[in-house]
């Protein structure tokens, strides 16, 4: 009797704690959601009941803010980064995983070590370099920078997925009559697909949210969404309602991608290959 009661109390307590923790994390997001639909006047009041407006969204897409162009830049830059990073990283990861390369460990550590250099340290050299070769304020330039940021991460992550594919499976395919390229196309890629999709989405998110380099290396044509947010500072203070609307435009694709990741994080893709 008492045992059951204690359990019920404990379970309710757990639920309360979880809800509280979720609330703490969600409050800013809820606040942004509300603010995005409020007028400039309402924004500073913690009113939950107000007359919602879509005006903020049309304002941010109009001049002078022109968020549409930034959205376009962000999309192109992030998509191009992923489209280049994943195939190249897959090739590198396969080689690291399957071939005996001289100095493979050292190379892998070096690749990772690039991530330890603080971005602030290298952003200026990048600026000078890009200025000299005319890549300042271009989407191509941003794609290159983002590639440098995501590649190490992508190589390591995809290598992990390829390591998980039993070598026996590949050897079986070779004895069955496949060339190395056929093995990669028919066996490795399909088996690593969930991993490739997951890595691709992570890279997309990193490129989408990249702030520092975009801030320094762009000023007009290639400005991306995170930088665009900085536009909403006026002399009368931060334009929170516009800032929130833009914030939602940045967040929504991330929500969608997070959902996709969840679906693709299926386990047991390699189950059944070997005993």
């Amino acid at each position: 009797m008492t045992g059951t009661r204690i359990r019920i109390v404990w379970q309710s307590l757990q639920t309360v704690i979880i809800l509280a923790a979720a609330a703490v994390m969600l409050v800013p997001i809820i606040w942004i959601f509300l603010a995005a639909f409020k007028t400039h006047v309402d924004v500073y009041q913690l009113k939950l009941v107000f007359r919602p407006t879509l005006e903020n969204f049309s304002t941010v897409f109009a001049q002078p803010y022109d968020l549409g162009q930034k959205l376009f830049n962000s999309t192109i830059v992030a998509a191009a980064t992923v489209a280049i990073a994943i195939p190249v990283a897959t090739g590198a990861a396969y080689a690291f995983s399957r071939f005996e390369l001289r100095g493979a460990t050292a190379m892998l550590v070096l690749i990772l070590a690039t991530q330890f250099v603080p971005a602030v340290v290298i952003v200026l050299p990048f600026f000078v370099m890009f200025r000299d070769i005319g890549l300042l304020d271009t989407r191509v330039g941003l794609v290159l920078v983002n590639l440098a940021i995501v590649m190490p991460f992508a190589v390591w992550m995809i290598k992990g997925f390829i390591d998980g594919i039993p070598v026996d499976t590949e050897e079986a395919a070779m004895v069955d009559g496949s060339s190395r390229l056929q093995v990669i196309r028919n066996i490795v890629l399909p088996m690593a697909a969930p991993g490739l999709i997951t890595s691709g989405i992570f890279c997309f998110i990193i490129a989408w949210n990249e702030f520092l380099f975009a801030l320094i290396l762009t000023n007009k044509d290639a400005v991306t969404l995170p930088i665009g947010l900085a536009l909403f500072k006026a002399e009368e203070g931060d334009l929170w309602n516009l800032l929130s609307a833009a914030g939602i435009i940045i967040m929504v694709p991330m929500f969608v991608l997070a959902l996709v990741i969840r679906r693709h994080f299926v386990q047991g893709m390699t189950m059944g290959a070997v005993r």
């Binding site: 039993p166 050897e171 079986a172 069955d176 009559g177 189950m271 059944g272």
Partner: protein
């Protein structure tokens, strides 16, 4: 159809020798079993024939072609891997069809051949499943079906039954034997299960330390071992190997009177081999020698008695009605017609006349 020849094949990793200067000729349509303890180089030999491992030295021939420089795909062998190596993202049908597809077999030909192969291993009803939805034995049979769906020059089977339960193993063994008879393709089969080796093989190669110690029919391997290793490795319970010496046409151990005839020249350090089933347990006063019971094991079908004879122990197989207890005095009657003598130093068999 093709035989396989290894000419002085050696595989080394650094200074470690996996396969040691091995020469071997497998005839066309022969079923050869490689048998040996773990780590003796069976899988390595097999992988070199398949082209998955490069020999450090020596030549490998399939049919009349030296295949050292051929890729696995160009050797036209089919292999059943020790751990299956199935394609988890494909259905059973696609798994079995893969060797045909990748070799660009005619589309119309694929389905009937896959179905025929699946039927041979009784998998016909599982064709649309994926490997993870199958039991271990069923996965094993997918691997087999994938090998037999085409007609390769050689089958390589690496412990293909090792993961099955005892009962399934026996029925699959029969299935394999039937298949090999029906398909008539040269087969190299690796196992460390002796019964599998004895029942399936045309010839057995007993391996140790990367080298074949004896190559012969199952009958020769069991009844006419060339050396101490083969004698002790084949048979369960293992053959008794007693240290002693040969003098005046008898084998003497522990300084007592001879326990068996040995019509051989005198030899100081000799080993006598006798199988447990060739020793019978008698009353204490009968038999050729006397001993004490060290342990008894009832296997149901027989009683295995371990007897202490001086410093050495001997196992003998008595019938299932034998009743002896530990520390009982018993007599042992050794059948001198079934003894084997070996040189204790070289391990080589000492043959009569």
């Amino acid at each position: 159809m093709a035989g396989v020849r290894l000419k002085n094949v050696t595989k080394r990793w650094g200074s470690f020798v996996g396969v040691d200067n091995q020469s071997l000729e497998i005839k066309d349509r022969e079923f050869l079993v490689l048998l040996g303890p773990s780590g003796c180089g069976k899988t390595t030999t097999m992988r070199m024939i398949a082209g998955l491992e490069e020999p450090t030295e020596g030549e490998i021939w399939i049919g009349d072609r030296m295949v050292n420089d051929d890729l696995p795909k160009d050797r036209n062998v089919a292999m059943v891997f020790q751990n299956y190596g199935l394609y988890p993202h494909m259905t059973v049908f696609e798994n079995i069809a893969y060797p045909l597809r990748v070799r660009r077999a005619a589309k119309a030909e694929i389905t009937p051949r896959v179905q025929a192969a699946a039927a041979k291993v009784e998998l016909a009803e599982f064709l649309s499943r994926r490997p993870r939805e199958l039991s271990g034995g069923q996965r094993q049979r997918v691997a087999l079906a994938r090998a037999i769906v085409r007609t390769p020059l050689v089958f390589l089977m690496d412990e293909p039954l090792s993961n099955l339960d005892a009962k399934l193993r026996v029925s699959m063994r029969a299935e394999l034997k039937h298949l090999s008879h029906e398909l008539q393709i040269t087969t190299i089969y690796v196992t460390h299960d002796q019964i599998e080796a004895m029942t399936l093989a045309d010839r057995v190669g007993v391996m140790e330390h990367g080298r074949i110690q004896q190559l012969g029919t199952p009958d020769q391997i069991y009844n006419d071992p060339e050396n101490i290793f083969v004698a002790g490795f084949i048979g369960s319970p293992a053959m008794n190997l007693l240290q002693g010496n040969i003098s005046n046409g008898g084998f003497v151990t522990g300084g007592g009177r001879p326990i068996a005839d040995a019509s051989l020249p005198d030899q100081n350090a000799a080993v006598m081999g006798i199988r447990p089933e060739d020793i019978s347990v008698t009353a204490a006063d009968d038999g050729t020698t006397q001993a004490t019971v060290y342990a008894t094991e009832n296997t149901g079908e027989s009683v295995v008695v371990t007897a202490q004879l001086g410093q050495q122990r001997l196992t003998c197989k008595g019938d299932r009605y034998l009743k002896v207890a530990i520390n009982d005095r018993i007599g042992l009657s050794i059948n001198s017609e079934h003894t084997y003598f070996f040189d204790a130093e070289t391990g080589k068999r000492i043959r009569r006349g």
